[in-house]
């Protein structure tokens, strides 16, 4: 650009800030984004309570009493959004004193995906396979809830060592962007 042109340009830009002129024009473009609600996960532990050697004990999806409580993952996220779930290894037994194990029955841990917080009427419909779930519809900018309940039956042997047994179920949740 020649020097003369620079001066011309400078004058024109100043003019455009003062008033509209034939040699210049200005437009505004509004930019907007709607940020969705935060993604949250709340858990309730799967609790078999006290079990006895040689006696199986089952916990069902709807169980919520102390000492016999189903596990529950509560996903709270933007209404209608899609979130990905990545599951860690699903345990086949609990580990206790001296590395003793307390196995589940052959059916292992089972899941039920539901929009109900109480799991009433829940049946096995979820396999803990990593993938996407869709959040229930609702008002944009608000959270809706989806629950995955976990149930199972432990099968202590007649010689099961006494003590506390535990295992961990891990899930990673993330928005997919849609």
């Amino acid at each position: 650009m020649k020097l003369v042109s620079r001066y011309t340009l400078g004058i024109a830009l100043v003019a455009s800030t003062l008033a509209a002129s034939a040699a210049s024009a200005q437009a505004t473009v509004n930019a907007s984004a709607t940020v969705a609600s935060a993604l949250q996960v709340f858990t309730r532990d799967l609790d078999f309570g006290t079990v006895f050697p040689g006696v199986n004990k089952a916990v069902d999806f709807a169980d919520a009493a102390a000492g016999k409580t189903s596990g529950r993952f509560n996903f709270a996220a933007e209404a209608g959004s899609t979130i990905s779930l990545t599951w860690g290894a699903i345990p086949s037994s609990l580990t206790g004193p001296g590395a003793a194990t307390l196995p589940f029955t052959a059916s292992g841990l089972e899941g039920c995906s539901s929009t109900s917080a109480t799991a009433v009427g829940c049946t096995v419909n979820y396999t803990f396979a990593s993938g996407n779930i869709t959040m229930p519809a609702g008002t944009a900018g608000t959270q809706t809830n989806r629950y995955i309940f976990v149930r199972g039956t432990v099968a202590p042997s007649a010689s099961q060592a006494a003590g506390a047994y535990s295992a961990t179920i891990t899930v990673t949740a993330a928005y997919t962007g849609s």
């Binding site: 455009s16 709607t34 959004s81 962007g177």
Partner: protein
């Protein structure tokens, strides 16, 4: 008086005689001073830049070619002026969008411009305050006298909500300045 002196005097007399000839009649001359005022440059915002729904922790990019009315949708400015004239198109770009006291970074501005209202075959550029030169091109479909030129400018960017970004609607303003070059 010698012959040479006679000739000299004769020449001088002849020269003096030419200088005192009568002034000729008044001569009138004229010239045309002309100017043609070209078409004023004008801008129209055809589309706002819509990111649509974005999720905490997940960047949301809008490409100049995006055209979803629910988002993502590129911003679009139409420039009209004198055919074949160059214009300098400069931008004032917000570093963030705001929602009340909350802000969300926005960056990676991208653009594409075309003589027609389509991104097919458009020319990519990076929107900047220093500006980009573009030429206003006539359209054969224009009604006579076909003196107008056109340019469509598509604008995209990337919004970057933090993982803890508060929910809400975030807004900002892009100012597009156009001047004949």
């Amino acid at each position: 008086m010698r012959l040479r002196d006679v000739i000299t005097c004769g020449l001088i007399a002849a020269l003096l005689g030419g200088g005192v000839s009568p002034v000729s009649a008044q001569v009138v001359s004229s010239m045309t001073v002309g100017a043609v005022v070209g078409e004023a440059v004008a801008t129209t915002t055809l589309q706002n830049l819509l990111f649509g729904r974005t999720f905490p922790g997940t960047p949301r990019a809008v490409a100049p070619t995006d055209n979803n009315p629910a988002g993502p949708q590129a911003g679009l400015v139409y420039i009209k002026g004198q055919k074949n004239k160059d214009v300098l198109v400069s931008f004032s770009l917000p570093p963030s969008l705001t929602s009340g006291s909350n802000s969300m970074p926005v960056d990676t501005w991208t653009g594409c411009h075309n003589p027609t209202n389509t991104t097919t075959g458009c020319t990519s550029f990076t929107p900047s305050f220093s500006g980009t030169l573009m030429q206003l091109i006539g359209n054969p479909a224009d009604p006579p006298p076909r003196t107008s030129g056109h340019r469509y400018v598509f604008i995209g960017a990337t919004a970057r909500p933090a993982a803890s970004q508060a929910a809400g609607t975030y807004t900002g303003t892009v100012t597009v300045s156009v001047v004949y070059f």
